[in-house]
């Protein structure tokens, strides 16, 4: 599950974490993994719902010192 890119969205408020994630995912090839870091607690539910609606796979979520980390595999 090696991420090809890490997106730092820390300190950004909704909707920016998803706006940036969407943009970054566009550059990836199918099957590649994006790692997203955010401090927006609301992103937890939103990112998983967004991934689902786009067919992407949310492989893992971790929380460390208030930073949420997501690993998303592009559809």
């Amino acid at each position: 599950m090696q991420a090809v890119q890490v997106l730092d969205a820390k300190g950004l408020a909704c909707p920016m974490p998803i706006v940036k994630t969407k943009k970054a995912m566009k550059e990836l090839a199918s099957g590649e993994v994006l790692e997203v870091h955010t401090t927006d607690q609301g992103a937890k539910a939103d990112l998983s719902a967004w991934a689902k609606s786009g067919g992407h796979e949310l492989m893992k979520v971790e929380e460390e010192n208030g930073v949420l980390k997501f690993w998303l595999k592009k559809a």
């Binding site: 909704c14 920016m16 998803i18 607690q41 609301g42 539910a45 939103d46 967004w50 609606s53």
Partner: protein, 377 residues
């Protein structure tokens, strides 16, 4: 571009005035399904903001042209974005809901309930977004506050504007659905903080013991405000009778439902207490008392002026929870098929005991979501 806004206060007014409004809620569907802004004549469309990043064309046909549209999200970032897109697409009458559901959860609307016999008055603070009700008894330059929320400035400002000193702060019980502002108000104003001792066995702070028969004096003419022990929602739950006119029932009796007894983990044990409080203790009181609960569940419980109250006699006729004659049936109502428990209710109880000290943001997160303190049938 600046987008027009609607504040929580304006929204509360629109609900009370039964205005019609179209709400475009752009939170994710699970949050929307859990909790939204309720109005008598509101229409809704829920489309998450992340499905609108490429444009709003797809939803345009679903939006009204002749009605105000308010875009709602969690904290307003996304609703501003979506509202801007709608305006760019040529829609007028589009507003962003200021502060989002976070602001909605925290807004308190003061409504006057009535006058007291010595010229004082009783104010109800309606927390529309969460269904919490708190009160201020004002008399002769003094005030007592009952079941205050953590938005303590609202009460302190209100007292200052009314030129009165807060002398007492009381909680009818240890709350599980919201964080009490009682201790904080007492600390800021020097008022006495009262709590039923049976609910306070584990608290980490000093308080005044609220026992049955305890008179609380507000103002020089001593508004008669006495405590009545009515366990069932919690073991300490206490009601207040104010000026022989008003009955504050806490979380024991609501307008269209009754209290649940499981939030402190003891539904089975406390059913008999709850029944005794509702069917014997309240039954013995005057039908003319105006019941003022600590919560409402649905907006149908709001009166014309936005207040939540009803005569005790009327509730004994119409509240289903007061009309279950079979004890087993009553037991089943309050122990089976209970609604989901409030968000973070254990953490909220610990916070109200003083055992946890979450910061402001954490407190806000803990309280997110609807109120769930009642059982209805």
């Amino acid at each position: 571009m600046t987008v027009n806004k609607i504040t929580a206060k304006q929204m509360a007014r629109k609900i009370i005035d039964k205005e019609s409004l179209f709400l475009l809620d752009v939170r994710n569907s699970s949050n929307y399904d859990d909790w939204k802004i309720e109005g008598h004549h509101f229409h809704y469309l829920n489309v998450p903001y992340f499905d609108l990043l490429d444009g709003v064309e797809e939803i345009l046909p679903k939006l009204p042209r002749d009605q105000d549209i308010v875009v709602v999200c969690a904290k307003e970032g996304s609703s501003i974005m979506v509202a801007e897109m709608l305006v760019e697409a040529g829609l007028t009458h589009v507003f962003s809901f200021e502060g989002g559901m976070k602001a909605w959860s925290e807004h308190l609307e003061p409504v006057k309930i009535g006058d007291l016999s010595d010229g004082g008055e009783l104010i109800q603070f309606v927390r529309m977004g969460k269904g919490c009700l708190s009160y201020m008894v004002i008399s002769q330059g003094e005030a007592a506050i009952i079941d205050p929320t953590r938005m303590t400035d609202v009460y302190i400002d209100y007292a200052n504007e009314s030129g009165v000193t807060i002398k007492h702060v009381l909680d009818t019980h240890l709350h599980a659905d919201h964080i009490s502002g009682g201790r904080q108000i007492a600390e800021k104003t020097g008022a006495a903080y009262w709590l039923p001792p049976k609910d306070a066995e584990e608290v980490t702070y000093d308080y005044y013991q609220l026992e049955e028969g305890q008179p609380i004096t507000v103002g020089t003419s001593a508004i008669d405000m006495h405590a009545l022990y009515t366990p069932g929602h919690t073991i300490g739950s206490t009601s207040f009778i104010v000026d022989e006119k008003f009955l504050m029932t806490g979380d024991i009796l609501f307008i269209d439902s009754i209290g649940r007894s499981d939030l402190a983990g003891k539904a089975e044990d406390w059913v008999a207490d709850l029944r005794q409080s509702l069917y014997s203790r309240y039954r013995a009181l005057s039908d003319d008392l105006l019941v003022l609960p600590a919560h409402f569940m649905i907006i149908d419980e709001l009166n014309e002026d936005g207040s939540v109250s009803e005569r005790l006699g009327t509730l004994f006729r119409h509240n289903h929870g007061l009309n279950i004659h079979d004890e087993q049936q009553f037991r089943a109502l309050v122990t089976d098929n209970l609604p989901p428990q409030p968000n973070a209710y254990q953490e909220i109880r610990l916070t109200n005991m003083g055992k946890q000290q979450p910061d402001a943001d954490e407190q806000r997160e803990m309280e997110i979501g609807p109120n769930r303190c009642a059982v209805r049938s």
